[in-house]
Symmetry: C2
Subunit: 365 residues, 2 copies
DNA sequence: CACTGGCACTCGCAGGGGGCGAGTGCCAAC
DNA sequence: GTTGGCACTCGCCCCCTGCGAGTGCCAGTG
């Protein structure tokens, strides 16, 4: 990262890899395995020894290639859908391929095409995320994914209470990134809208710029310090804030944006109704995705999760490419794509990488 | 509607029908057509003359039934998927069936099961709608649908401005039904958060309880009356309000909640990948649905839209059952289900009808 | 004259068999 | 270690056949 961040797009893309695996393969094994994966990505068909021998300039006869392929199958990199068919890569085979991928950064032209998607004025934070996942889908022909920051991790900008009925109060929380959360809470005693205004003014003066946890601590500290002073107002504010924060933690589900699910259905591997249903089920139950994404938040840089590595059966045959967007130096959210394991990694990785940088930049304006 | 509204659920269900059609059918034609539709709804298979003759106690030989069925086919009520198969109803056939359906109201027990879904505290208005479409899906085994009120039709409860950056301002509009809309707007000149508070206080005092149109008119009226008085504050408020209302009109899309799309995919008529894709496409492009729903808003009572009646190719083979929910006596939103034309109307209609009444009651608390 | 039983006919569908082609595994030769 | 050759395997496509459900038509009957 010697270059200015994201400006030129010429810096290398930092991909989390699994170093030192695949050590037992000879150079020729590697070349052939790489060729098989490449061909399979392009054709979606089992790859035969003849094809490799002809198309990939290795100067090896089909028979030699067959021998190597048999070894690779033994070692778990390839598999045969049935005897007398070509081979297709296993997840492990894809992992090998991805681990030594060195994707070229996007061309200036492509960068510009992506950037221009943000030129028209976008609405609130949710709108930015939706548009982001839409563009990821459009540029990868896969399903695009964007996830709002987990509310514990993000900083508040504003809190507001609106009185709906006597004790039903709508809490509106605006985060630093412009995402709006709202939730209904119940007050113990009736409160007027004016009173609610006082309370939100008070809370805003305290919590702006803090994370959920910090805000909690800060409130406790304030309580000790000023308790005598504000007393009544303070007690009410405490009660409301507690509830508001409680409920804020629950509402993670709605903050996952997946767009372009259909383009994934175009891929030949989902031509069967069963597979398609399984996939859409995974999309509908977002908790599964959230779990995966949470896991990826712990690592830095671009993550690639291939098939079974997600440890979820519903995602069999699917890969995720995820990156993070940041505010300051804090990782605040995730974006990426979901597609079949047989996706065009070298095309998609730079798109995800560049988009993540771009969104980060956008958020810091 | 002599009974107390929605209380007992014993009142007849008001369905919009097309009276006077089908007049050219004899009583026997009707019986047989009804039997064919009934059987097809249950079996999803083409219905033969023998089946009708045996199962529906008409005391007619298969041959006679065949003659009638041939007439019904001529008249456009039935069709044959191919020679030497049974008949299936056309959209017109379903229309006939639905027009003389007199669905039994839900049993108390069922009513209670639905009601209990609203016992746990729900979040904001959007959460209510999402839960509603979820329950519609669960009780019908089809896709459930709930649409937030069009913003022009709904009354405001609260408006709030939050300053994100110097001129980027987040508008938060809360409607009478507790649905929160938010949108980013740009101010011509920098405004402090305090100033924004003043503005929202001022606007709230004016627009609460008004519809979008009324609010606009009211603002104009205020301008003439008090212009000299508030002047600066007033001009700023005007500018912001105009933009807020403008953008409020755009954001219709996000307010359609469809849940349980997958249960529709279980139906045998969507076993082909092509049909399934077409359907999901229709779901993803919500504008199509919005158009249909807008049309239905003009009518009162329960609407049934069968297949081509929607005038949208994507909805071929699908029916919608829609009803409205109200606040006071105003229709404010739509809910219902989407399923294959071959759905169990007599089961689903009461569910939609009861749910609509229930949601209306909930909103008036 | 409406209804019915009978009969020939039409199709869709499932199952079996044969030919084709891609690809493999193995082996003997270089 | 590499290669060409060869027998073998299997999935796929296509054709054919038989079966069954259902139709249309017609002649007979109360």
């Amino acid at each position: 990262m010697d270059e200015p961040r994201g400006e030129t797009g010429t810096e290398r893309i930092g991909i989390a890899r699994s170093p030192g695996a695949h050590d037992r393969l000879t150079e020729r094994d590697r070349q052939i395995l790489h060729a098989v994966v490449t061909d399979y990505i392009a054709s979606a068909e089992p790859v035969g020894s003849r094809t490799i021998s002809r198309k990939y300039g290795l100067n090896l006869s089909p028979a030699s290639v067959r021998n190597v392929m048999a070894d690779l199958e033994e070692a778990g990199y390839l598999q045969q859908p049935h005897t007398s068919a070509g081979r297709i890569p296993t997840d492990k085979g894809f992992r090998f391929y991805v681990d030594l991928l060195e994707p070229r950064p996007l061309s200036r032209q492509e960068q510009e095409r992506i950037r221009s998607r943000y030129n028209t004025p976008l609405g609130d934070g949710a709108e930015v995320l939706r548009e982001t996942s839409r563009l990821l889908s459009a540029f990868s022909s896969l399903a695009g994914l964007a996830v709002a920051p987990r509310i514990e991790a993000t900083r508040f900008r504003h809190i507001e209470f609106v009185r709906l009925r006597e004790r039903d109060i709508l809490v509106i929380l605006v985060t630093e990134t412009g995402v709006v959360h709202n939730k209904l809470i119940h007050a113990d005693e009736p409160l007027t809208q004016d009173r609610l205004h006082e309370i939100s003014n008070y809370l805003n003066s305290i919590i702006a710029g803090l994370t959920l946890r910090q805000a909690r601590e800060r409130l406790l500290a304030e309580m000790r310090a000023d308790k005598a002073l504000y007393d009544r107002l303070y007690a009410e504010a405490q009660a409301l804030a507690r509830r508001a924060f409680e409920s804020a933690e629950e509402s993670a589900e709605s903050e996952v944006f997946i767009e372009g699910k259909l383009s994934i259905a175009e891929q030949p591997e989902f031509a069967s109704v069963e597979k398609m249903k399984a996939l859409f089920k995974a999309f509908e139950e977002k908790s599964l995705l959230i779990k995966l994404i949470d896991k990826s938040m712990q690592a830095r840089g671009l993550q690639i999760i291939i098939g079974h590595e997600s440890e979820a059966d519903e995602m069999a045959g699917c890969s995720l490419i995820l990156s993070h967007y940041t505010v300051g130096d804090e990782v605040v959210g995730t974006l990426g794509v979901i597609g079949p394991t047989r996706m065009n990694y070298s095309r998609v990785i730079p798109v995800v990488d560049y988009t993540a940088r771009l969104v980060s930049r956008l958020l810091e304006q």
